[in-house]
């Protein structure tokens, strides 16, 4: 716009009405041009290859799912609803059901989560908020590395180091909190002086603690990621208003990372539910519902499969698949729920500040 030629009496408007755009050739207003992409031959080939890869993987995954469901259906048809309520596992004679193993699985996972979550939150906060910059990257590497450690290593540690050293702690909890049914141990009272080790060494509690060690790196990693993405503008705002570091964390970091905290916990729970080898190495299997987490003897679905597959008839394998499918349904539910919560939280969203 030129600096000179304003007509004096014309009102100056800051936002003039846009004049209808005249097309260069015709006098009519232009309509937006319709854009159509035309793929070249190589793009068609690329899309075909990519689509076939996707379809192949999809077919493979669906095959696994349907095969398991089909075989499991055999067993389920025979067992009926008693599959959910029976505690014993005798597929070739008498009943079989997942009541005992699924309760054992859930209890182990709950113990693991109870132990792991406070430690994971603390470790994630330490790495993202308190650790000096120099060692921060190293700590992140250590935690990520721990998530890749094979579970058999944790199992070895649990079976050879932790199992016998946890007895005194189990005894202590039993002595002082034995009045809570969860911590009861049959046959041991506070004044019992006989050998106690055999009551405690293969319990839900110890298996849960070992699984917790596997859950901690996963949960820590997810939480740390979210904490470190808390918007710096809001952090500085909190400091500028006079908050202490903890005040800032409580007002900014924790609300921002809440979704990731729940999501990380749930993903850890999914892993805890499916863990096999470390649990097999600790527990001594029993097929009754065992609500006393300190007492010897518990069971889980994956350890049931690992211990029984070799002696099973084809029908027994079907029954194991039914149990495995029940576990799969559980982990699927937990994972989808976690994904939903993480997606709905603010974590990772762009800050307005």
């Amino acid at each position: 716009m030129g600096s000179g030629g304003f007509a004096q009496d014309e009102p100056i408007s800051l936002f003039p009405e846009p004049e209808p755009f005249e097309g260069p050739e015709s006098g009519q207003p232009q309509t937006p041009k319709k854009l159509t992409g035309r793929l070249s031959a190589s793009d068609y080939a690329f899309r075909a290859v990519a689509r076939s890869g996707g379809v192949l993987v999809l077919a493979l995954m669906v095959l696994v799912g349907t095969f398991l469901a089909y075989r499991a259906f055999h067993a389920l048809r025979k067992a009926g609803w008693s599959f959910l309520t029976t505690q014993t596992w005798n597929p070739n004679g008498g009943g079989f059901g997942i009541a005992a193993v699924i309760v054992g699985t859930i209890l182990i996972a709950l113990v693991a989560i109870t132990v792991a979550v406070p430690l994971a939150v603390g470790a994630a906060l330490y790495i993202s908020e308190y650790a000096p910059r120099r060692i921060q990257r190293g700590l992140i590497s250590v935690v990520d590395l721990m998530a890749a450690i094979p579970s058999v290593v944790f199992g070895l540690w649990g079976a050879f180091f932790l199992q016998w050293r946890m007895v005194s702690l189990s005894r202590w909890i039993n002595d002082w909190f034995g009045w809570i049914p969860l911590f009861q141990v049959k046959g041991v009272t506070r004044n019992y002086t006989g050998p106690t080790a055999t009551f405690y060494t293969s319990s839900t509690f110890i298996a849960g603690v070992v699984v917790a060690l596997m859950v901690i790196p996963i949960a820590t990693s997810i939480m740390r990621e979210a904490f470190s993405q808390a918007p710096p503008g809001e952090r500085e705002g909190a400091y500028a208003l006079g908050a202490t570091r903890w005040g800032m964390i409580r007002a900014v970091v924790l609300p921002f990372g809440r979704g990731a905290m729940v999501g990380g916990t749930m993903l850890g729970l999914g892993r805890a539910l499916g863990e096999t080898i470390a649990v097999v190495m600790i527990i001594s299997p029993v097929f009754v519902i065992q609500p006393h987490i300190l007492q010897n003897g518990t069971s889980s679905v994956s350890s049931l499969i690992a211990l029984q597959y070799a002696e099973s008839t084809p029908f027994g394998v079907s029954a194991l698949m039914a149990a495995g499918l029940a576990l799969f349904a559980l982990t699927l539910f937990v994972n989808f729920f976690a994904a939903l919560i993480v997606a709905r939280s603010r974590s990772g969203a762009v800050s307005e500040v």
């Binding site: 908020e129 308190y130 890749a148 199992g155």
Partner: protein, 403 residues
Amino acid sequence: MTTVDQSPGTTLPGRQQPGPAPQPRRLTAIRTPDVLALAGALAAALSTTGLLWTEIAPFSGLVGYIVLTWGLFVLFYAVLVSFDQSGPAVRDRLVSVVVHSLGALVVAVLVFVIAYTFWKGWHALVHANFYTTDLRTTGPLDPVTKGGVIHAIIGTLIEVGIAMSISVPLGLLTAVFMNEVPGALSRFVRTVIEAMTALPDILAGLFIYATLIIILHRGFFGGAAACALAVTTLPIVARAGDVVLRLVPGGLTEASYALGSGQWRTVWNVKLPTARSGLATAVILGTARAIGETSPVLLTAGATFHVNFNPLSGPMMSLPLLAYQSVQSPFPAEIARGFGAACTLLVLVLFLFAVARTIGGRGAGQLTPRQQRRRAMGSVRDLARYERLWAARADAGYLGDET
């Protein structure tokens, strides 16, 4: 109030302030009272617990001692800090102490697990025969100077190699598909793959056991374990690749399209090279996961004491399975071998992880200095090529007017 100066003009206050020159306050310095409070609280907690343990109450156990000391330490520290700080500051200090201890505890426990494994496996690891022989002539009572785990190392490498050669190309292709061909089908594939990441690994093993082992009637063989591992890792690789490809900046792909290249050219020349380090990290971490999986291998590969190079027939040992089975034995040499196998496994995982850290851990499009130099050299070469081209054209008289 200021006195009104009659003279015209402005008067500046003198630059020399009375008193000492102001020093910038050091915000991160460690103050003496903080150190004293920490040391005092620690001393008080240690001595109180010591008194309780030895004189007053009949407690015992190292864990209890540490836990009680820690609790008392936090308590004393709170009291000491509250002498000269306000409520919020005291809470801040307490949380700081708790978070520091939790972080230290997690790192210490995790490092201890690794150290313990190496400590227990050390007897076996220091003998060369551990890496060069198998267990075919070794009984459970033989010392660790006899027999080794070469059969398990070979088995693991073959099984994981086959599994990854199936799952990496398929997984990455699926990731590209989910990113590049939007639509109902790719959304469905993504949902199914996310669901399959929740598949318990033992169920993948059970699937292969029920199909390849029972139906084929050939007994256990290494290829079956490879298939089970592929089923386990395929969704992991596909999902991780999907996430990495989504991080490629949109501007880069749009620039490529704007320059007139097609979708395939854009994927091959822009998207995949940009995401290369992330994809490599995803693949390597998937491999590390596959190496450590015990339960699918347990159900499908069988166990043997012999070296077996053929994945299509005969059982094939692998490291996690060897570790798991050896430690079931009551004999110390077998247990040492099991821990040794676990250590070998750990070293493999550590190595892969170090490789992943070296080439990965870098955002999309961020280059190492070496890569940048290489690009610069390429660009210089291109310039020289263009100049030769233009010169040749000018010689041939095509561009007479413009030059």
